[in-house]
Amino acid sequence: MDIFLTVLQGVPMTIGLTVSALAIGAVGGIPLALGRRSQIPALRFLAVSLIEILRGIPPIVWLFIIYFGLGTALPQLDPLTSAIVGLGVISCAYMAEIYRGGLSAVAQGQWEASEALGMGRQSVLTFIIGPQVFRVSVPAAASYAIGLIKDSSVAYTIGVTEIVYFANDQSRQSSDALGPFFIAALVYVIMTIPCAWATRALDARLRMRVAR
């Protein structure tokens, strides 16, 4: 029971880390997604390259680059900030791809209809397309968030005091090496499975609403 409570201490950190990274991704993904669809080839190339490189390198390697790598060049960030920045920029790339999927799901006819009404590209994007893109992106973003809860565990490797950090600590200290990890697994399962079910339900509902 003690072990359980100790491992639970990591939950707020895991959630805080996930939410912060997701928030960065939700905002940072917008310019990346727009860049990908830009009419300027150089901008498109830049956006694609960024997305590919961010997704192509494992999260733990990004955390190391930011925490240890940049740390030797610049004033070192603390572990939590490094983890938030690292997971945040990776989320930007994944969210950009999710928005891109949403953008192509919104019918071409909507652009044409709005432009025919004399609205500028800018305001069509802000008032017509944007809100729809966010709505159709919710299910994919939610399942990405579930993945991020699990991925945030890599922050333990640079010393962020989240769930796995406490599990490791307990495993080393107590005679029961296995128990703390099972508890950690259980905590993740408890956090992710209801999220997954909620996403599935939400997905079904949104699909009905968008279905024409």
Binding site: G56, P58, F64, I65, S153, A167, N168, L178, F182, A196
Partner: protein
């Protein structure tokens, strides 16, 4: 530009590490995908208990971070008398994760095979096992290939988690070079690019596979 000047000297050790990473990824996939197939077939069982049990195992496997599974096998298991090398623990842990995830991917693939074809096979007198083996599985796999490649890329990335169990894979090698040269940024960047040099072309392959499949079916 001293970031790049030392790269040639890092390369031999990093390449050795990359070799270990690739090996772990391939072994995990080679063990995990057949496991995933068994789970996928079991999830379609007529026996409700078997079905519930398998779905439970899969959900737990997918809900637990690969990092935690790895720690269970490497740090946890010795307590119950079974000590694995860091290589064995990494392969077993990633294979288990692979099985859980690919079972869902493959289940989708198997379900995509039209029921009419299994009926036709049944009407031809083929038994369930032969129908699975010759009709459903080959087509299910084909449908699943793009997702399987996508997942293989993630597993290759996940081999970097084996750094935590001191397996001399790519990230461990980079980190240990960093801790002796204090040139962390340079060596970690190179390691990152080496990961990307495999994952990015592989993800292009996924797109190509999708297009080819669309043509064939």
């Amino acid at each position: 530009m001293n970031i790049f000047t030392d790269w040639p000297s890092y390369l031999p050790e990093l390449l050795a590490g990359l070799g270990v990473s690739v090996q772990v990824a391939l072994l995990s996939l080679a063990i995990g995908i057949p496991g995933g197939l068994l789970l996928a077939i079991g999830a379609g069982s007529k026996n409700k208990l078997v079905r519930v049990l398998i779905i439970g195992v899969v959900e737990i496997g997918r809900g637990t971070p690969a990092l935690v599974v790895l720690q269970i096998f490497y740090f946890g298991l010795p307590a119950s008398g079974l000590t694995l090398t860091s290589m064995a623990a990494s392969v077993v842990a990633l294979a288990a994760t692979t099985a859980a995830y690919t079972s869902e991917i493959l289940r989708g693939g198997l379900q995509a095979v039209p029921q009419g074809e299994t009926e036709a096979a049944g009407a031809l007198g083929m038994n369930r096992k032969d129908t699975l083996r010759f009709i459903v599985i080959p087509q299910g796999f084909r449908v699943a290939i793009p997702s399987l490649i996508g997942f293989a890329i993630l597993i290759f990335q996940a081999t970097s988690l084996a750094y935590t169990v001191a397996l001399p894979e790519l990230l461990s090698q980079a980190y240990s070079i960093g801790s002796t040269t204090f040139n962390y940024l340079s060596v970690l960047l190179l390691a990152g690019l080496m990961y990307a040099a495999i994952t990015i072309p592989a993800s292009w392959l996924t797109g190509r596979a999708e297009k080819r499949l669309a043509q064939h079916l």
